[in-house]
Amino acid sequence: MKVKSLAVVIAAGVAAAWFVVTPIQAHHAFAAEFDADQPITLRGAVTRVEWINPHTWIHITVKSADGKSTEWMIEGGTPNTLLRRGVDKNSLPAGTEIVVDGYRAKNGSNRANGRDITLPNGRKLFVGSSGTGAPTDGRDAGEK
């Protein structure tokens, strides 16, 4: 049932502390919220961005081949960090086409986490913003 080992309990008391060479984990349990068995790639146009804490939510409209539209919500990072990266609520105006690579919500709703977000021209969203020191991941044109 809910019996947890000593190690788990102690680890739980300290998680969210230091993330050195250990696996990284979010403030929220993404593995409980999103389904590892449902990786998903979505292409759509931004309709609005909820600039809220703890995490931003990007709303997009996805059109299927038969022309049917579906609304999706994409979970992003905290606005606080994005502001420090030079990104604000105007950085993704309505109509911006994006590609989302993430995992669908376990509850079956049209929600996913925005593990990677890419502009259709191949530019990774936000990566390469001036002076951010943001990492590259090989997805952008010209990256290794």
Partner: protein, 337 residues
């Protein structure tokens, strides 16, 4: 005495009449705690116009320095330049966003690419661990009593752990107080995490306030010492009393609740923090954890808080905590399978 507490938080005012009954054992316990004194230094920290050491400013404590000394550095308290460069290279490698295998829980747990995180890329000390006492740089073992408690932890009515490690998702109380946007407790709230590692210190005569970006909120610490509130008053952030020792602000906090765990310690924790400006841009933050019901001996960590030009932003964590809904509803779907 009444006047001293008049400016303090409402809850404390309510119980100030009980101060005479405050237990003395907490202070006695902390006196045995190890206190690593900073090396003598030429730089003299400035003072406020009213004559107290001036700690004010905005600081960040993000760091990649390991909290506990990794096995690979056993017996080695300080790292060479090459070794710190190697640590930073490893983190940079992580930041290069090599995905864990797609379709694994570990990949989902990483949530986003590194762009969304702000956990630091540099060591902030040449020490091999933030823990400075005991000498092995490791958290001391749990007492047998604490080990027994840990085995019974699952019987607790609420989940008392931290991070994003819930013990299930029957209801919100199975999730951590951090995940629920309530608190990280102490010293959790003073410890670096994945982002929002910023703190603003402001002072007025007799008080130091520490605004904490992650989860928001501020600590209001009287610097005139005084006894702790009565032991029956318990708070997530405990009851903090400060005093100056030279240029160092020393804060002792007791009266924690039994609803949070810090590495297994809860209501019997006595936390002693020491804030010292060691150069114009560095506030050395030391904390000593003392809880004889949990650890076989007290232990101390030292975390550099580096001055930054950042502004603090509000982190109204609960307002859009859709994640909680997603976790609970996701669990219902899993159950139905």
């Amino acid at each position: 005495m009444t006047n001293r507490y008049a400016r303090f938080a409402g809850a404390v005012i309510v119980v100030s009449g009980m101060l005479a009954l405050a237990p003395a054992d907490a202070a006695a316990q902390s006196s045995s705690a190890a206190r690593a004194k900073p090396a003598p230094r030429a730089w003299t920290p400035p003072k406020t116009p009213w004559g107290e050491p001036d700690l004010q400013g905005v600081y960040s404590n993000k760091t990649i320095t390991p909290f506990e000394r990794p096995a690979e550095f056993a017996g080695k308290a300080e790292l060479t330049g090459e070794e710190t460069a190697e640590l930073e290279r490893r983190v940079a490698d992580r930041s290069a966003d090599k995905r864990d295998a797609k379709g694994t829980d570990s990949d989902v747990s990483r949530a986003y690419n590194e762009f969304w995180w702000d956990r630091g890329t540099k060591v902030t000390t040449n020490r091999s661990s933030l823990i400075i006492d005991p000498a092995d740089g490791r958290v001391p073992p749990l007492t047998p009593e604490a080990q027994r408690r840990a085995e019974e932890e699952w019987r607790q009515p609420i989940y008392r752990g931290g991070g994003a490690n819930g013990r299930g998702a029957d209801w919100t109380t199975d999730r951590s107080l951090f995940e629920r946007c309530i608190t990280r407790g102490l010293p959790g709230a003073m410890s670096p995490t994945a982002y929002n590692n910023n703190y603003r210190i402001v002072q007025s005569p007799g008080y130091v306030a520490i605004q904490i970006e992650m989860l928001g909120g501020a600590r209001l610490i009287p610097t005139s010492g005084g006894a702790h509130v009565h032991g029956s008053l318990r708070q997530y952030m405990g009851d903090s009393r400060g005093h100056w020792e030279g240029s160092t602000l020393v804060v002792e906090t007791t009266n924690f609740t039994n609803r949070t765990l810090y590495r297994g310690a809860a209501e019997n924790l006595t936390l002693v923090e020491r804030f010292t400006r060691v150069d114009p841009d560095t506030l050395e933050y030391q904390f000593t954890v003392t809880d004889p019901t949990t650890f076989v001996r007290p232990w101390t960590a030292s975390v550099p808080y580096l001055r930054t030009d950042e502004q603090l932003f509000e982190y109204a964590c609960h307002e859009g905590n859709y994640g909680m809904e997603g976790i609970l509803s996701g669990a219902r779907v899993e159950e139905a399978k």
